[in-house]
Symmetry: C2
Subunit: 319 residues, 2 copies
């Protein structure tokens, strides 16, 4: 429940994929504050008692539902939708917060190296939001955000929810958390805004393809900037973005060469090797753990012809 | 001067490019602490009173000298050189610290958009290391590091200093600052370690191609990890890496699409546009300023076929 909200969008008011012919779930004035009940990215196919067999059985036609769409009155192509991200409340299951991280075959930065399905189920306290534990291996501070947040594209027809676009969508930007203001290009009348794919924690890159996937209630305020003419989304964070996790510094690995994708893959593979050697983790466990907390950064992109991609894993998670 | 140092490498003991036939400037036992006097990346061609004409006149045959090489006794291919980064002391000119940031035609992430040379000369207090001012436009906190730090490659002959390699070199990783431990693959007997290209500040990416280029004295301890068999460099930071600059949060722009390089270019171009519109800066000034403080991050690299690169500029620099 949200006392300051003007509207509520229930979990049943969701859609799969983006289509500007979808009927609005709500028409709202600019400045409206809205509570969205969001499913997790499996649309409930995975739950607190799921096993790896449930990953194999996933119906990909029901992946990543988003709640909406909202027709914002007056929004027109060329405007920006100003989304003030107010709060996140994980949905409780028997009083506990729940999330999952999976290696889904064919999906993820190192999909060729990790062909088999794997699943880790997380439990956490949704009131205290204390770090979530991966057995004795890892301790991941939580910082919820919406992985998928965007407007409908102008291009007619149904578009997959998987790739993000200039109108937003599956951006998976881990700093789209409480307090951040996001500006999204509007391509159709009303914008047709939707949100979902809530994550309890993720590192920059979401390298294994999933974060701590967790159903949440999200409160957002939707407003307009007329004639903003943004090319791509931009956002403003209200303060530091890593202080919940950086106190002990980082372990970092690198990939060096003329292709940023190869560099990113090399850096992540080197980190998986390091965690296996040092902490005795299985490779797929290390790969899934660092997806929830490790950051891919481009250290240099100018020293021709070789670029450096670094993968930073917070030591507080490991030690 | 360094009281705890075992050796000093003077600025005259430098070389241009990497060549494993270079005679060692010093043979040192593992565990030695060494003071390196380092030139700036222009080898003194640019100074506190330089103008943009001096950028045009740069002799690229004298770019990026590195001080060394050090033959570390016992280092052999397959070992890692463990470099403990102890301290940086900017060299003073008439009592002032000095640095330069340039747009060098043909060099930099947006070289096609910025064909003309440009130069900004910074002054700062080398004792207090207070943030360096870009007029009333920007205030950049300083965090010195060595842009070029590495060993000689096994491949014989002279190799350009510009691209980094698996043995390190022009890594331009801005967190190779005081307190960090860097591990470098060794490819030749003794490692033949050198360091230079000191920077007073840089963002992840070094997007315009230069940082705050500043001559400094660097103290390092060189040690060995026998048989480490690293594929690429890795490093450990002793604590948080952005607390000197992140207190007010970030402005961030994005690039979205199937190519990470294009995404990075789009994100940086969008930030330049934002700073021009909001702060009245010239485009090339904005481009050079954000090179010293803005971070390129890979927000997601798994949502096929479109990746998100975000460019984060600290609001404390701008506000």
């Amino acid at each position: 429940m949200c006392k300051a909200c003007n509207y509520t969008i229930h979990g049943a008011q969701h859609h799969f994929g983006w289509d500007n012919a979808n009927a609005p779930a709500l028409r709202a004035e600019p400045g409206s504050t809205i509570l969205f009940h969001c499913h997790d990215s499996s649309a409930g196919q995975l739950g607190p008692s799921s096993t790896v067999a449930d990953v194999t059985a996933l119906d990909f036609g029901r992946i990543n539902p988003v709640s909406g769409p909202i027709f914002v009155e007056g929004a027109a192509p060329g405007d920006a939708l100003k989304v003030t991200i107010e709060s996140f409340a994980p949905q409780a299951f028997d009083g506990a917060g729940f999330g999952w991280t999976a290696n889904i075959p064919g999906f993820g930065l190192l999909a060729d190296q990790f062909p088999d399905p794997a699943l880790h189920v997380w439990k956490f306290d949704p009131r205290t939001m204390e770090p979530a534990l991966w057995g004795s291996m890892g301790r991941v501070p939580l910082k919820p955000f919406a992985g998928t947040i965007g407007c409908a594209p102008a291009d007619p027809g149904l578009h997959s929810v998987v790739p993000p676009r200039r109108v937003g969508g599956n951006l998976d930007i881990r700093d789209l958390s409480a307090g951040t203001t996001l500006y999204l290009p509007v391509e159709v009348a009303g914008g047709l805004f939707s949100v979902g794919d809530t994550h309890a924690a993720q590192g920059d890159g979401e390298v294994c393809g999933t974060a701590i996937e967790s159903p949440m209630d999200v409160v957002l305020t939707l407003d307009l900037v007329k004639g903003a003419n943004l090319k791509t989304p931009r956002f403003t964070t209200p303060g530091p973005v890593t202080r919940h996790i950086d106190a002990m510094g980082y372990e970092a690995t690198t990939g060096i060469g003329p292709d940023l994708m190869t560099g990113a893959r090399d850096a992540v593979a080197a980190m998986v090797d390091l965690l296996c050697a040092r902490h005795g983790m299985s490779a797929v466990d290390a790969y899934m753990l660092v997806s929830t907390c490790g950051d891919l950064r481009i250290s240099e992109i100018v020293d021709m012809p070789n670029w450096v991609v670094s993968f930073y894993v917070p030591r507080s998670v490991l030690e």
